[in-house]
Structures are given as C-alpha cells and as structure tokens.
Amino acid sequence: MLELDKKSMENIDPEGPQEIVVNIGPQHPSTHGVLRLVVTLDGERIVKCDPVVGYLHRALEKIAENRTYLQFVPLTDRIDYCASMNSNLPWVMAAEKLGGITPPPRAEYIRVIVCELNRVASHLVWWATNLLDLGAVTPFNYAFRDREMIIDLFEMLCGARLLYGYMRVGGVSKDLPDEFIPKTRKFIEHFREAIKDYDRLVTGNIIFQTRTIDKGVLSPEDAVAYGVTGPNLRASGVSWDLRRDEPYSVYPEFNFEIPLGKKGDCFDRYIVRMDEMRQSCNIVEQALNKLPSGPVIVPELPYRLKIPKGEVYVRTEAPRGEMGVYLVSDGDSKAYRAKIRTGSFSNLSVFPSMLPGALLQDMIAISGSMDFILPEIDR
C-alpha cells in the first residue's frame, strides 16, 4: 500500500459522515460537451456540486478585438453550435445598431425565419439528448430525422450544415433559393404531426414522468437572482421573453404565445420547450406568408466597415436564453471590446444550488432539462 493511501485510510472516522467525492466529466456522455462536475456525495444524495468549466475556452472575445466585424461573423457560429443562426444575430445587430445601418425588410424576415427554424433544431437536439440521458434511446432517432430536414434547408441556403455564417452586417449573405419556401412549408406541416408523435412516445410515459416531475425545482426568485433566462426561466413561471418584452428585428409583427411553467421542475422545462417548438412553427409560417420582396443586404457596405465611437448592448432570445453582445467601438474597423453574454453561463451558475439533497441520478435529469451547451459557457 502506498504511503499516501495508508495515511488517508487512517484518517477515516467510522462514526463521521461517509462523504465521497465523485468526479463526473470532463469526458462524460451526459455532460454534453466538456463539463466537469465535482460532486460530493453522502450515500446516493448530493451534498455539494462544483462545476468546473473552461475546457472549451477559445478566447473569442480576445479574437473579436483582432478581426473586422465581417471576419468575426463565422466565429460567432462557434458560440453555440447547435443554434448558429441565433448566435450570428446579436453580433450583426450590435454592429448595425452602433453603425446606424438598417437592414432591408426582406433580410429581417429571413433572419426571423432561419432563427426560428434553428430554435426548433436546437430544441430537437435537447429533446434527443435529454431523453438519451434518461435512458430512452428511440427518441433520438425521431428527433434527428426531423432535425435533418432543417439542416437540409440551411444547407440549401448557405451550403453549410452546422456552422452557417449566414448573416452579414446589413442583411444576410444570400437570398432564399426558389425551393426553400415550399420545402419549409412542407417541413412545418410534417413537424406539426411529428411533435404529436413525440408526445405520444414520451410525454405521457410513466417512467419519464417519475424521473422528471418535482425533480430539480427552481423557484422564480432563485431563477431571477441567478440570471437564468430562456425556457428555464419561463418554466419557473416568470413571463420574460425578449421577443415580446424588448422586441427586436420584426418580431412585433407576429402573433405567438409565450409558454409558461408552474412549478419550475424538470417536467415543466420539458413542456415549455415542446410548446416553444410549436410556437416557432407558427412564427415561421407567418413570416413566410408576409415575406416582402426586395434586396437582402444593404448594397456596397465596405468589407472594412468602420463603426463610430460608442457602446451598445444588444440582446436576443436564443434557444438557451438571453444572448447579447456588448460592443465597444473606438471608431476603428475592429471592436475595441466585445463581451458576449450567453444564456448557458448563468443557467449553469444556478445548477449547484439546485442539487443538495437530490439523488445522483436526478442530477443527470436536471442537467439534461436545463439544456446547457458548453461552447456557449466557455466561449
């Protein structure tokens, strides 16, 4: 026996608390990326949890100080790779707001369409992986079948399947191809039926409900105090959606509902996201019906766009909460400072306070229902 082990064996007090420290991650199937959780356990119950992040830190904010506004657009895709379109949006909106650039109306509509489709795709990844964590393997196949259709639409639009880099300061890079609109309508028609299948397959399932109802309850007070946003906040019953409460782009022109939860448990978070996917379909359908004609980008904007001195904070409702860009310009063609505020960062900071007393298996259900994405936390 090693000297160190001998010493630690001698120090165990048989009458004292039998706490053990379990290290989960950074490479673990249920952490969705490289999140490390140092969990202190008393038997099966969690005493303390300390998340360790930073494994995906790419210093995007530093890189932003060294790139022109256009050059940084592809890097914003990497903030949240499950929702690249939604990650493009705050960056280009911040540059436009500070530069006094108004994108043409058709571009605004296209942005809303692609963002809402991307929200559905992102929630489908959540649905698939959350259920996979809970031991249900089949839903994964259904979700990825339908997500594939959205990815095909985006591939038609810009050639990429995951990191689109589609938006530009002043509009979007290309107009919609001819087949895009009929195929999107077809997808929505298909998806409205498919989501009923999802409900039949999972939502009423007794094992699923036992694992999620009354587990990981997040009170509205805690949610607000810890800066939780997005579906997690709305599941706690706080009606706060930037698309309605601080409207941006052309969202005021659409009718949609904000789904709310009652208790803030894992099941409420599930229901809210399922309803959000339905609402996103409604928004896409309305935007397709109202889509104006015209150009999709402000013509002849210089590649080396100079933005006047000033500061702005622009925030949008991304699938995982408030994603905002705080842009500081000193009048040059590069940002002086760019702070990227993401939903998952604050959503993860509340996570340790939800765990004490829960079982270890509940931790997996809770982290799945919170829908963290690690590149967004580490940036």
């Binding site: 992040v53 930073g54 830190h57 210093a59 904010e61 530093k62 060294n66 022109t68 607000v224 105090a225 810890y226 800066g227 706080v238 706060w240 409460d245 601080e246 590649y303 080396r304 001195k309 000033g310 500061e311 702005v312 904070y313 925030r315 408030e322 905002g324 705080y326 500081v328 002086y336 400072r337 702070k339 505020r341 960062f345 604050s346 993860l348 900071s349 509340v350 580490d378 940036r379």
Partner: protein, 155 residues
C-alpha cells in the same frame, strides 16, 4: 424609466456621491467606486427602479484604468441601465455585488480571470476560464503570450 430619470433619482437619494452620464453609451451612468454597494442596494429595492436582474458584469481596459461594467434590467418594469465604475490599473479592486445579485458570483470570477480585477468580499474568487496557475489576464490589452500570432492587417 430612462437614464436621466434614473440618474435624477440617484442624485436625490445620494447627495454625497457624484453621478455622471456616460458620453459613449446612451444607457450608461458612471458612479464612484465607493458608491457601488449603496447604489446597487437602492436599485434593487426601490419600487420604481426594481433592477432585479443582473445581465452581466465585465470590464474594459482603458489603459490607465479599468472600467467595470454592470448591465442591469428590471423584469417587472422592463427597463435597463448600465453602471460603470472606474478602478485604477495599479489597484484594480472593487466591492463584490454577489450578496445583492447571486449571479454576479460567476460573472465576477470571469472578470477576475480575464482582467485581473479583484472583487473584495467575493465568496469564491478563483479563475473560471483559464487553468489554475495561469499567468496573466488575457483580455488586458497589454497581455502577451508566446503563441499569440498577429494577423497581417487586410487592405
């Protein structure tokens, strides 16, 4: 409420502190470092202000000083404000607001890690992004690292 109304309320409440408009930011109010905790408590608790939501805490490197930035929103009243506090580069220290907004915990850790700003009375001031034992604070403008490559400036 817009900035001038918020500023007026602050000036009425705290005659001992100085408040000024931020020339760069139409939402920004510059406050003194020693006023931070008093102002923060007032902004949360006053019924007409109710800034219950802290969006983020970050910093800007301005050469001789750092500007610590607090973005605040009110969920019930749907207004927002940005507070700025200047701290000297030699002694970058400021009180932590974790007791007022718990979310500040991680945001202040990030500002500490990347800018080296020391938040006094913070419960757990450790690096969050960079590995423990990393030298320097990467988002400072004078930060250099052997692996950093400057791209040629494009035309």
């Amino acid at each position: 409420m817009n900035r001038s109304e918020i500023k007026q309320k602050l000036e009425e409440k705290f005659s001992c502190y100085k408040f000024s408009d931020d020339p760069d930011n139409p939402e920004g109010i510059i406050i003194q470092p020693d006023a931070l905790l008093d102002v923060a408590k007032y902004l949360v608790n006053d019924i007409d202000l109710a800034f219950n939501f802290l969006n983020f805490v970050t910093a800007i490197d301005r050469g001789s000083k750092f500007e610590v930035v607090y973005m605040l929103s009110s969920i019930p009243l749907k207004h927002r404000v940005l507070l700025k506090v200047a701290v000297p580069r030699e002694v970058p220290e400021i009180e932590s607001v974790t007791t007022i907004w718990p979310t500040a915990n991680w945001h202040e850790r990030e500002a500490y890690d990347l800018f080296g700003i020391k938040f006094l009375n913070h419960p757990d001031l450790r690096r969050i992004m960079m590995p423990d034992g990393w030298e320097g604070h990467p988002l400072r403008k004078d930060y250099v690292h052997e692996n950093m490559v400057h791209l040629p400036d494009m035309g």
